[in-house]
Subunit: 335 residues, 2 copies
């Protein structure tokens, strides 16, 4: 018996036997759950009564596909779950659309799907629908994923950019930039080595801890564009000045070193397992207390102030530096 | 003032200013609806009471991006809406994840999103969440889309492969293979010209018409792998023989000609605007009557018979031919 080819072929995407076998032998066993029916065009899913349905979608193109702390499969789950978590929802269902390059090792795909399945299980979400397309060599670079997450949250939750006020405090759940720095290092383009690990993880514990605090106004996970970009979104939406204190912003030493070597600013590097939260000033001690129960590295890093809409960093030397919106710097395929 | 570059750059995916402008100036105005909030990580959407939530997802990589009868944007809507429609659901919400190649003309993207928006409006669905990633030149071929559709249907609807029985009749809503043949021709690889048009369209009217018939067992849109692949799915799931009558299967003359020239079988070519339906024998006249009110080209094309699980075509010459499951034939990027 000839050993079957262990690479993805164009016929794995044609709707016929090879595609069915790929789905039945690789995807279905890994993702198995009572709702998933790989033979159905669409599936019905239960909706808890008295809760609000919340929807998000995200594409994943990280390069390399596997990096210290995760791979594209686990990243797709964490990225999608986190968008629901910061909106105050508990994630329930995921859909996953997969784009594969002809010639990809099936084993690499298997590891990505295994990590995706493990992360989904750990987050309590079921993958309920999927799709697979195969692109010719050179029309895709390995694996791209698109995930949509469905979650449920209490009705009437007021958690939005529009809720932030002057005087509100800004918290972050841990050191920033680990994901971006770890992925940049893993590309090995720079001849650098290090034991940097991505922070990619579910922020459900952090988000649920913060939701217990009455003065919570807004949460966001600082992914592409990093903490500085969330700060800009806050300034733009509120018309307020976002004042950050450099000395209070946690940055791991290894991340700082990589940034200095490569000329990046950790405040613009992606996190995939952190939350930025805005809380009413009187709620700040309680919020920080709750957050530190699940994220010991959490810190108060700044506040919103009356003034023009800009982001200002009080540097460690006591100066003031305006943080610009991220411009042409490409930083492709960080997530 | 320098004229802005009219091509997608890597910085359009970095989370910063260019990405925000692309979303605010191109995506948001085209897709505008009361639920879409391009500044939110996730959005809450209303869920009708007493209905069942139905979910589907699909990737789109069609090549060329624009073809007679549609483009990748309208195709993404029709493909996703149709998966909900054949499950008996009315589509309500869509999420769209976009993968763009560096160097893509912004104008091509604008046309794709305009067609997507128009198709969504025509189908009564709101795009409620989106995401955009940019890949380097050669890591993507123009535009890939992943869409997830959410719809609602009456609870307790019994519509599944498991419902089909020996004696059930098989209907198709119109000529098969138009989409596949039109896309193959549009590639201009073969030096052929013709006025073939894709059948890509919503099958909501057809599906809703069939749902009025009590004996409806199952519906599916024959996309990748075509009618023959749906027949195989029926045979495999039911353990029954699927008997099709070649002379009853509608195939447009132009599609037949292209297939003969290029060596394809129209029964394996993708449709993007047809429905295959299985109905109880006593319901067949009513089903065909309802279907023909919205799809005059609908036809009774075969039945399920006791016997081994295979697909058999009674040819126009009176012979019997076993239709194999689609094998290695690649047919990439047909949808």
């Amino acid at each position: 018996m000839p050993r079957r080819d262990q690479h993805v072929s164009l016929a794995h995407g044609n709707g016929g036997r090879l595609m069915r076998e790929l789905i039945e032998e690789l995807f279905a066993p890994a993702l198995e759950n009572p709702l998933l029916d790989t033979r159905a065009d669409a599936v019905a899913v239960p909706t808890p009564q008295d809760l609000e349905l919340v929807v998000t979608t995200d594409g994943f193109t990280v390069q390399p596909l596997e990096f210290p702390g995760g791979n594209i499969g686990s990243l797709a789950v964490h990225g999608t779950v986190n968008d629901l978590a910061v909106c105050g929802a508990l994630p329930h269902y995921l859909t996953v659309s997969t784009f594969l390059e002809e010639g990809l090792e099936i084993e690499v795909l298997r590891r990505a799907i295994a990590a995706l399945a493990a992360a989904a299980r750990a987050c309590g979400v079921a993958v309920v629908a999927g799709d697979t397309k195969v692109l010719g060599r050179g029309d895709c670079d390995g694996i791209y994923l698109a995930a949509t997450g469905l979650g449920f949250r209490p009705r009437g939750l007021r958690l939005a950019l529009a809720e932030v006020r002057a005087g509100d405090r800004i918290l972050v759940s841990g050191p920033v930039g680990d994901h971006g720095a770890a992925v940049l290092l893993a590309r090995q383009e720079f001849g650098l080595r290090g034991d940097l690990k991505s922070d990619a993880a579910s922020v459900l514990p952090e988000a649920q801890a913060l939701l217990r605090v009455p003065g919570l106004r807004f949460m966001r996970d600082p992914t592409r564009g990093g903490l500085a970009t969330v700060a800009h979104e806050l300034a733009r939406a509120s018309g307020l000045r976002v004042q950050l204190a450099e000395s209070s912003i946690p940055v791991n030493d290894a991340v700082q070193s990589v940034c200095e070597l490569l000329g990046y600013d950790p405040l613009y590097l992606a996190c995939e397992g952190r939350v930025v939260a805005v809380v009413a000033p009187e709620s700040c001690p309680a919020a920080l207390g709750e957050l530190r129960k699940v994220a010991p590295g959490a810190a108060l890093i700044g506040e919103l102030q009356a003034g023009s809409a800009q982001v200002v960093l009080e540097t460690s030397f006591g100066g003031q530096r305006v943080l610009d919106e991220l411009e042409d710097d490409p930083l492709p395929r960080i997530c």
